[in-house]
Subunit: 305 residues, 2 copies
Amino acid sequence: MAEFSIIDRYFKTAASAQVDLGIGDDSAIVSPPVGQQLVICTDTLIAGRHFPLSTSAHAIGWKSVAVNLSDLAAMGATPHSILLALSLPQVDEVWLQDFSQGLFDCCAPYNVHLIGGDTTQSPHLTISVTALGWIPTGQGITRSGAQVGDYVVVSGQVGDAAFALQHLGHPLQQRLDYPSPRCELGQSLRGLASSMIDVSDGLAQDLGHILKASHVGATLWLDQLPIDPALQVLPHAKQWQYALAGGDDYELCFTISKDNYQRLCQLNPVTPFTIIGCIQADLSLKFEYQGEPQFLQLSGYQHFA
Amino acid sequence: MAEFSIIDRYFKTAASAQVDLGIGDDSAIVSPPVGQQLVICTDTLIAGRHFPLSTSAHAIGWKSVAVNLSDLAAMGATPHSILLALSLPQVDEVWLQDFSQGLFDCCAPYNVHLIGGDTTQSPHLTISVTALGWIPTGQGITRSGAQVGDYVVVSGQVGDAAFALQHLGHPLQQRLDYPSPRCELGQSLRGLASSMIDVSDGLAQDLGHILKASHVGATLWLDQLPIDPALQVLPHAKQWQYALAGGDDYELCFTISKDNYQRLCQLNPVTPFTIIGCIQADLSLKFEYQGEPQFLQLSGYQHFA
């Protein structure tokens, strides 16, 4: 099957007023909204590395979009569209049908359009998605604005996906296969959060990027970590390993002043969030459990093992 | 080595006034120029499929950018920046140094910035680049505007890369390894060309996309094809196979009215171009040699063999 047939059959969608020129030409064309900046990111999923080989095609399609929308959410951006670079060992029509359905199912709630892509034959299943969004000029939330005294806050729960990866078939596998990009929460944090990152490589490592970029440190309160009941029965060391060093959470970790935290609560966001620590001047990342210092050996996800 | 070290060492570049936020956060941020549309595309190179395994890392880096800038050129866009999704079997510092140099060497003449990316470990070397450019609103050149009576024109030479692929070590391998994206020519065709495509899968197949999108046909004059002297010594059938059905040319094929062709010549573009045929109402693609019809058996590049 030619590339063109694959695109026409599985990936071409109806024209949209938000896209001037979509799939089917050398490039896509999009008109920037007035007063907005373009926010753009790319993330790759490699079969067997970023998802178990047993993962359903539908979940792979979903996740390849979700991990990118999560990066946009971490800037506070409104997602707009994606491009798909899909490299496949062979043309399997059932697989392609399920994959494209998963991809579109993740796009739909956010009104995200597939505007372009490239389909190639490769020995190894590889999916790179580029996601585009918009943010009112100057309102992008970077990693570098954390201030001493800010709360450290995380959305949802952490550690679910890392636990599920080691317990395939457990109900928490839904969290591994179908991460929820926190787009609404990210947008509601414009003008409120002082810094933000999405948690993909483990909370401690990703928070570390904020600390480094902001030239500050933090103390995390381990008894405050939002951990699923299924993990709370495990020994503390094990719980904290999943919650702090597990990958694939796709939650938002942000810093916010106490005043702005009150404003955020008044907005009453749908996505839950939890204060898990505070920013300090001392440049280290410290841990406390019930007020007592804890010394943890953690490592986040390594892209090259 | 962590992903972050690879990015810092090989891919992070100095800040630029054209990029509000570059590599190093969850997403990049770019301010759209007033009165311009965003033009965006993505193309993947798979080792052993889109380039011979013997290709130098420098050439791979160059080509991964060039094939994308070629897609922007085919819209008439001015290139602005790229994102890189690089999937590598292992961290080879010499390879990464050469690859990144090739990538930046292709970016530099066009003032293109690397603004984001993702580096992952994969069993198979795979490079997906997304390229962004700008075009004055409404001036994008699509595949769908060819008019009966227009000339069919192609830039540079066709068939060089396909010939080189079968004759590795021949001087024409430079054309296979280091394609020249025709950005200046593409931009100078704004308001002049009625349709345009970049020739990546073979001239006949790619021109076919213009014909289909424009609901017209064409006659190509085989004696006018711009073919390198090294190929002109071959039998006609062989020459035409390379020139019409070889891949990897990365030339521009466009249609243009006779009046606009005169205007184009007055602009005196640096990139050479050649009239190779004309657009007709009859929906077929015909070939003539010295005024006599020729019936050719051709096939363009198939993405899934």
